[in-house]
């Protein structure tokens, strides 16, 4: 099936926005912590898991979403939130711990929650999977044709919640799509040292649902597979599992020495960086002109810069506001 030009370009625009956002966050995060790295210091303290390289998984899925669809994501959530259209300013403000943030500074970068669009994430591995199942259960009970998407890492597929969620989703024939971001590492542990089979997509068959492996870190490949899975879920055809082989270009978290991955591995990743390969293809196929590309980059960067300026200039919450929001 043909892919509309608008979708091809929108995916690229989202990728540019994501990568630039991650670059700016990284720069600010590290800038405040050098020369002696102190995780507690600076404008953005704490752990920071960035998703540079994993843009195609997020942007390939989003063109198929519609209003009311729900997403659960992981400790590495920015690319997915940005692609879904979570308010960039409020998201940035949350990462800076500001009162104008999505959670008034209570959650931080691993705990971003948005109502419109419906997005949530968690620092506990595989924690969002059953929640996506529950969102899909609600949609089914309410008779809507909304779907839920659960993003998770290759490491999460060895957690009990993964297996329980797939079984429930299939048992109850729910409109949920599980999307595995297989970057082949869970911190320092390579997938082959943690996972008894080669491809997590094969695990789908154990739960009676379709499982598809996308071996390329390519938005178009993700787009095509996601289109089918999401349409099936929307039409009452039940859940599916998609596994995308992708790349985490940077360390597990900022400050990670990343000594467990070889120089060759890192060089190969840089070589196939989708931020190089995808626009090259759009340009060579005439989908995009260099002028349009330049304009698109300018707009994406401006949106990110504006969001970060908003975050930086926003006030911190009052200390005693820590006591608010425990109960509704």
């Amino acid at each position: 099936m043909e892919i509309p030009r608008d979708d091809l370009v929108a995916m690229y625009a989202a990728m540019v926005k994501i990568r630039y956002f991650e670059e700016r966050i990284r720069e600010i995060y590290l800038d405040d912590k050098l020369p002696a790295f102190d995780i507690a210091a600076g404008r953005i303290p704490g752990e920071m898991h960035l998703a540079a390289g994993q843009e195609p998984v997020a942007v390939g899925v989003m063109p198929h979403l519609k209003d009311g669809d729900a997403i659960t994501a992981t400790h590495r959530p920015h690319h997915i939130a940005i692609a879904q259209g979570v308010d960039l300013q409020q998201m940035a403000a949350e990462i800076f711990g500001k009162d104008t943030g999505l959670g008034h500074g209570k959650g931080g970068h691993m705990h971003l929650f948005s109502i419109h669009p419906e997005f949530g994430c968690s620092g506990i591995i595989a924690e969002g999977m059953p929640v996506a199942v529950g969102a899909a259960l609600a949609f089914k009970k309410q008779g809507s044709d909304n779907v839920a998407l659960s993003f998770f890492g290759d490491g999460a597929a060895n957690q009990g919640a993964f297996h329980e969620s797939l079984n429930l989703a299939a048992l109850w024939n729910l409109p949920v799509v599980f999307i595995c971001e297989d970057n082949r590492y869970a911190i320092s542990v390579p997938k082959e040292a943690s996972t008894a089979i080669a491809d997590n997509s094969d695990r789908a068959s154990a739960y009676g649902m379709p499982g598809v492996l996308v071996p390329d870190n390519d938005p178009v490949a993700v787009y095509e597979v996601a289109r089918e899975a999401i349409a099936r879920a929307r039409d009452g055809g039940g859940p599916s599992l998609i596994e995308v082989e992708t790349d985490r270009l940077w360390g597990h978290f900022e400050g990670d020495m990343d000594a467990y991955r070889s120089d060759e591995f890192k060089a190969a990743m840089a070589e196939r960086d989708p931020m190089k390969t995808y626009p090259a293809r759009l340009l060579s196929e005439g989908v995009l002109t260099p002028e349009e590309q330049e304009q698109l980059i300018k707009e994406a960067h401006a949106a990110v810069d504006e969001a970060i300026a908003f975050a930086e200039s926003s006030p911190y919450p009052r200390p005693e506001d820590a006591l608010l929001h425990v109960f509704a």
Binding site: A40, G97, Y316, P317
Partner: protein, 339 residues
């Protein structure tokens, strides 16, 4: 003996050395957990062990906490002495059944016949904006559940001795190290996280508190990183003419109730400081212990400083508001002295 105590180590290195020495001495000791191998543990508790002992005895696991902690129980019952690392204590939620319904109860269920000699190591504590799923201490919850010992070292010497004692203990021991006492290069520097550690193996008995600083006017009873905060506060209070005794509990189970009572009988005033949630936790237990054992000695109602019952927030001003610190301890002691 002085030569033996010259060498200084960080708490993190002291823990790793303790594990290495016990692995050297006892073939049945082995380690498993996420990133304990090549990475050496996210908090360095297993640093250097993979190179020394190889992947059969230093096992990186999948992210399957119920699986590998349950497997540690099975191995412990069958002649091994496993050390299983739960990377952050906050992750207990995915595996607590194995911990409290199995690890902690099998000995009792078997009428004392089956032993579960294992150590569950885990990192805890906040103060560096890691938010509500990576900053909790939760030791009060583990201590509440019968059947497991709960150890919380505050300094390098104790960390090594308590670890060796934990490994040699025939009971399950939850060994909870606060990230702020480890002396990690990527955390805010803490001069109290480095100190003299003898090279040879030694034990610090589980269930014996330490008087970290002698004093006569008030007892501050605490555990973990807040021992350091209390020692800092005691210096400030000294300058104000208040003599503060700081009691480091070192373990919550067994709890050294005698040490609590003895200190309160001496100073007549008690402030309990805890980085755990306030209600239903350590502060209540220590205060009750003091009331039961030293009621007639108290010159003022015991007081406490703990995390008000909210999750740990991310943003710095919010987090600093809820965590105990030296200033809050100084203010708490001054209020006690005035009362």
């Amino acid at each position: 003996m002085t030569t033996l105590t010259e060498r200084k180590l960080t708490t993190q290195k002291a823990i790793a050395e303790a594990i290495a020495q016990e692995m050297e001495a006892d073939e049945s000791v082995f380690v498993m957990g996420e990133d304990v191998g090549v990475y050496g543990g996210i908090f360095g508790a297993t640093e250097g062990l993979l190179d020394r002992f190889g992947p059969d005895r230093v096992m990186d696991t999948p992210i399957s906490e119920t699986g590998f902690i349950g497997a540690a129980i099975g191995a412990a019952i069958n002649g091994m002495r496993p050390i299983a690392e739960l990377m952050f204590v906050d992750f207990f939620g995915v595996c607590m059944d194995q911990i409290y319904n199995n690890m902690a109860k099998i000995h009792y269920f078997s009428g004392g016949n089956v032993k579960v000699p294992m150590v569950l190591t885990t990192a805890c504590g906040g103060g560096y904006s890691d938010a509500g799923q990576h900053s909790q201490t939760l030791w009060g919850m583990f201590a509440h559940l019968p059947g497991m010992k709960v150890v919380v070292p505050s300094n390098p010497y104790d960390a090594k001795g308590l670890m060796i004692a934990a490994i040699r203990d025939d009971n399950p021991v939850v060994y909870m190290f606060h990230k702020g006492v480890l002396g990690l290069g990527w955390m805010t520097p803490n001069p109290r996280a480095i100190g003299p550690v003898p090279e040879e193996p030694y034990t610090v008995p589980l269930g014996k508190a330490a008087v970290a600083r002698e004093g006569t006017d008030v007892s501050v009873v605490t555990v973990g990183l807040t021992v350091h905060r209390a020692l800092d506060a005691a210096e400030t209070l000294e300058a104000k003419g208040i003599s503060t005794e700081v009691v480091d509990l070192r373990s919550l189970v067994p709890l050294d109730r005698e040490a609590i009572v003895a200190s309160v009988r001496k100073t007549h005033r008690l402030l309990v400081v805890d980085e755990d949630y306030r209600s239903f936790g350590m502060t209540g237990e220590v205060i009750t212990t003091a009331i039961e054992g030293a009621f007639d000695y108290l010159d003022a109602p015991p007081a406490r400083i703990a995390v008000p019952d909210v999750p740990i927030p991310y943003s710095r001003p919010l987090e600093q508001f809820v965590l105990p610190d030296a200033d809050k301890i100084v203010a708490g002691v001054e209020a006690l002295m005035a009362g």
